[in-house]
């Protein structure tokens, strides 16, 4: 029999094979529309002012938007689906009655999200590559960065979703976490432009670390801090997130 973690991954993939159509919009179409509206529409004005750091605006935001997509998949797919697995479909309780431990459930869930993040990233890179936004042979490294960002944020959010009863909290998570992170993590304009007071919030956001790494990959821009700090920060998030999630799963499945 397959390893229990792979079995939960397989379950997620089986479900995805039936439900993938809905994700085409959120994972592929929306980022593409975003790039067209902001990158091309607003970009024409930015480029008229000489672009940003020597590249056109589309090339500047493309690595940011692709990591944002991975970031949002990691978070979005760890909210309602995880709470639902405990509360509405009760699939985690069902798994628990099989020889599947909480760490296998969390592991399978994160592997699945990594798969989702990677697929979305590949599709996105091909599209913006066609618009001429890739300037370095290191661009495929973006796929690895997206995978790390996805699990780095999915871990803590999974733990959160496993801890609450009321899904109203997700609306708050999106409005005070995901949307400000998306708007102020250096995706659309450099973080240096932020007032010094709020800049540390951007540095704390895992999204910012993913974005600067991804810009190094697609534009060859050196990261502000040594690469290992950015990668290390994301790995710390992943490790803490996974530990929290396993702990919360175990707790919730006890009773």
């Amino acid at each position: 029999m397959a390893h229990p973690m792979l079995a939960t991954l397989e379950r997620e993939l089986t479900l995805y094979r039936r439900l993938w159509q809905a994700s085409v919009f959120s994972s592929f179409l929306l980022p593409l529309l975003f790039v067209l509206s902001i990158g091309v529409g607003v970009g024409s004005y930015v480029n008229a002012n000489g672009g940003l750091g020597g590249v056109d605006y589309l090339s500047y935001i493309a690595p940011g938007v692709v990591i944002t997509t991975a970031f949002q998949i990691g978070i979005g797919e760890s909210t309602y689906p995880v709470l639902g697995g405990f509360k509405w479909t009760r699939s985690y309780q069902a798994m628990r009655s099989a020889p599947v431990e909480p760490q296998h459930m969390v592991g399978g869930h994160l592997l699945y999200l990594m798969f989702r993040g990677v697929i979305a990233t590949i599709a996105f890179l091909i599209i913006v590559g066609a618009f001429g936004a890739m300037h370095s042979w290191w661009a495929p490294m973006t796929i690895v960065i997206a995978a790390i960002v996805t699990v780095a944020v999915a871990g803590p959010v999974t733990a959160f979703a496993a801890s609450i009863e009321n899904d109203n909290y997700f609306a708050l998570l999106f409005r005070f976490g995901v949307i400000p992170a998306t708007l102020f993590s250096g995706v659309f304009f450099p973080v240096d432009q932020l007032p010094a007071l709020v800049r540390p919030l951007a540095y704390a956001s895992p999204l910012w670390h993913g974005v600067v790494l991804s810009r190094e990959a697609t534009l060859g821009w050196p990261t502000p801090w040594p690469i290992w700090i950015h990668v290390g920060y994301l790995i710390v998030w992943t490790a803490i997130g996974v530990a929290l999630a396993v702990w919360r799963f175990r707790k919730r499945l006890e009773d």
Binding site: L33, I38, G41, N166, F176, I179, P180, L183
Partner: protein, 272 residues
């Protein structure tokens, strides 16, 4: 008032403001259900402000000034702010008349209970719409205040823009209700959210549409958020003209059509 007049014009006679008010009142009572609902309600205000600060100010520093087709030159934040305002009015009204309406309609069975009283389906539709507008106009009023503080409009023009945002909310709220009566399940909301986001991105929100290919411009001019954004922008920048009136007319027609069909569909679905 406006609601009653519209109701009288587009529905069969016999809509009583008292019963519409009762539906509104039920929603007020539901506010007492808990703190998290309040927090979600209040948090709705922050989204457009975050967008304004990020795109309007942050990206605005890279963009500089925007020249409109009539020759007006605007700082980018002044250009973007009314678009955020109109979008916020749309999203506020649609959240209430689609997502929440659907939940009450299909799952909470709220209206089955309401119909055991003398309240009629059309009155439910109007009541929910008025409630959506009460919620939405709090957001837009606060956002207009932010615009005045940030010097993106003047107090006088902000006051003039307020009723315009209410019209935007009514128009989208009424059409949102038709969609809700046609929804098959939650997955249809993904489609609607995608459509709303696409409107948000291309309705002269972040850049004037004259940069787009001509065919694309025509298509945008058919869509509702474009008219909402242009109408609100004409007012907050202090340049209303005949075009503004055309945008307003588009939204009035949209609201009337929305109310008419929602009333009819609800009659059929709830009274069978």
């Amino acid at each position: 008032m406006v609601t009653t007049l519209v109701a009288a014009a587009v529905t069969r006679p016999g809509v009583a403001p008292v019963r519409v008010g009762a539906v509104v009142n039920r929603n007020m009572g539901a506010l007492r259900s808990g703190a998290s609902y309040w927090l979600v309600l209040i948090s709705g205000f922050f989204e457009p402000v975050f967008y304004l600060l990020s795109i309007g100010i942050g990206v605005g520093a890279l963009v500089g000034d925007i020249t409109l087709i009539d020759g007006q030159v605007l700082p980018y934040a002044t250009f973007v702010a009314p678009a955020m305002l109109a979008t916020s009015a749309m999203n506020g009204a649609m959240a209430e008349t689609t997502f929440n309406f659907f939940f009450k309609f299909k799952y909470a069975k709220t209206y089955d209970a309401v119909l055991a009283t003398p309240v009629r389906p059309v009155e439910i539709a109007l009541g929910e719409l008025v409630w959506a507008m009460m919620r939405g106009s709090v957001y837009t009023a606060v956002f207009l205040g932010v615009m005045v503080v940030m010097k993106l409009t003047t107090i006088g023009w902000a006051l003039a823009a307020f009723p315009a945002t209410i019209l935007v909310g009514f128009a989208f709220g009424a059409v949102g209700m038709i969609f809700t009566t046609m929804m098959r399940g939650w997955q249809d909301f993904d489609l609607m959210a995608t459509a709303q986001f696409a409107l948000f991105l291309f309705s002269a929100t972040f850049a004037p549409i004259q940069n787009y290919p001509v065919v694309f411009q025509w298509i945008i001019q058919l869509t509702p958020l474009y008219h909402a954004v242009e109408m609100v922008r004409d007012i907050t920048t202090g340049h209303p003209d005949w075009g503004t009136a055309v945008h307003a007319l588009y939204l009035v027609v949209m609201m009337a059509v929305g109310l008419y069909f929602t009333g009819r569909r609800l009659e059929r679905m709830l009274l069978k």
